[in-house]
Symmetry: C2
Subunit: 288 residues, 2 copies
């Protein structure tokens, strides 16, 4: 099956939040039939009224699960596992499933083990989001210029991986990569989770409210992501505890090195660290 050769394909989204809703918008525009199952009736109502989905239900619809050519889970990690434990038996042989969750090692193997034989779960991670949530804030433009990572295990087939890459392209992502669950989680621990830890800590460490009047761009940039969905991110942090603690330690060592140089008045050391950071950041600019 190729997604883009047959526009009469049904895609089922389970969990219609910011990402699920953004997927629905992008896929509807491409001509797919998009159905959604989610807990909240008001999310379904909103999505139907705004033409985001073709049909939706706040309860399990076994026939939709059987009919879908592709199912996308837009659920929090632990909710995803619970859902598959309860309802995984409803998927027919040949069904292909993917997700949007931000950690993989702790999820993929468990979900794959819970599903019936012949049902393929191929994990993926859309590297896009916003500081707001809910289908009401969904926006498929967030995928443009962004990265999409397919995260297969040895249980996945070439066809499943190809289908998932195609989904990334159909959604409008600019770069599609493939990583193992472990590579993915190490990368995420550094690039995404550590940065959120830093932003939260920076926002928490000084309670002087008068400083608000003097804020410049540096502080604003570093704390943008300190506005954070605590339910989701605390779950993601704990599911990726080991790689995250490792990256936090690395950062702490680097920060301590700079602290000691400042304490010792070691200007050459400070400058060497700044030159290293300038050099490295330039690479991130170029290839970005």
């Amino acid at each position: 099956m190729k997604l883009n050769q047959n526009q009469n394909i049904e895609i089922l989204i389970i969990g219609l939040g910011l990402l699920g809703g953004s997927y629905a918008k992008a896929l509807k525009k491409k001509g797919y039939t998009v159905k959604a199952i989610t807990r909240s009736q008001s999310s379904i109502d909103y999505a139907l009224e705004n033409g985001i989905i073709d049909d939706g239900a706040a309860e399990i619809r076994p026939e939709w699960i059987r009919q879908a050519s592709l199912t996308v889970f837009g659920l929090y990690p632990t909710v995803l596992i619970d859902w598959v434990r309860q309802n995984g038996h409803l998927f027919p042989k040949g069904a292909v499933l993917t997700d949007v969750t931000g950690v993989k090692s702790g999820i993929v193997n468990e979900v794959q083990a819970l599903l019936p034989a012949g049902v393929e779960f191929i994990a993926s991670h859309p590297m896009a989001g916003r500081e707001v949530y809910g289908v009401q804030n969904s926006d498929d433009s967030i995928f443009h210029g962004a990265n999409y990572i397919v995260v297969p295990t040895e249980k996945n087939t070439e066809e499943g991986i190809a289908l998932c890459k195609e989904l990334g392209r159909e959604l409008g992502f600019s770069r599609i990569s493939v990583l193992t669950p472990e590579e993915h989680d190490d990368m995420i621990a550094f690039l995404s989770q550590l940065t959120h830890c830093i932003a939260v800590s920076l926002m928490c460490c000084n309670d002087n409210e008068n400083l608000v009047a003097y804020t410049g761009d540096s502080f604003r940039d570093l704390t943008r992501i300190a506005r954070i969905n605590d339910e989701m991110w605390s779950e993601l942090f704990l599911l990726n505890q080991k790689p995250l603690l490792l990256e936090m330690n690395r950062f702490r060592e680097s920060f301590d090195e700079l602290y000691t140089a400042i304490q010792n008045g070691d200007r050459e050391k400070i400058r060497a660290l700044m030159r290293l950071s300038t050099q490295r950041r330039a690479k991130f600019d170029k290839k970005g």
Copy 2:
């Protein structure tokens, strides 16, 4: 003297870099006569060719120093002190001088002590900049929407303070505040210097170049200022060592608190910290 009541006023800029050049552009547009003294002849040539200044020299011009109604030092902190030590005697009684340096306590008293009686140095800090340097990159639009802080000591007069505020308005700053040198340096240690320490450390702590391909907005935002002028910032850090080390310690405590919560799997603690950061960041959004 009121700057904006007489457009036939001469302003002298000593040190024609990014900020000095941006001041010159803004003040020329307002009709002032702007002259510059700076070490590099090529900076003078560029500024003259591009109409950024009315006249310029790569050597001391005692008559310009005597004539200027206002002198602005666009020099690095230690260079400023050396310059005033060598040439401060050239200023006539009644001259008013200001600067652009990013730290104050270690500078203001020393500069004031080096100047002849009757010469007023009133410190100020334009909270605007770019990651590039030199008069070639000067741009007076960086002042719009930005903060300008006047930093008087007990040696300053009401007239000097008023003139300096007027300069901030003429340059196009959106908010003009007054802080003591100590308040200024504490504020800068947190909002500006700590954020640069974090960005540099984050960029230095992981040498995996493959991660470049997966960077998202969070990492880009947090490391924008990791591209840093090591000569200037190492000087600023060391001149503000004590407040900076204090803020670095506060941040480290806050970061360690989050680390311990993640290590202990203490989800409620993690969520409490995230809720605090979310709440505080919202305030920074509103008042910004």
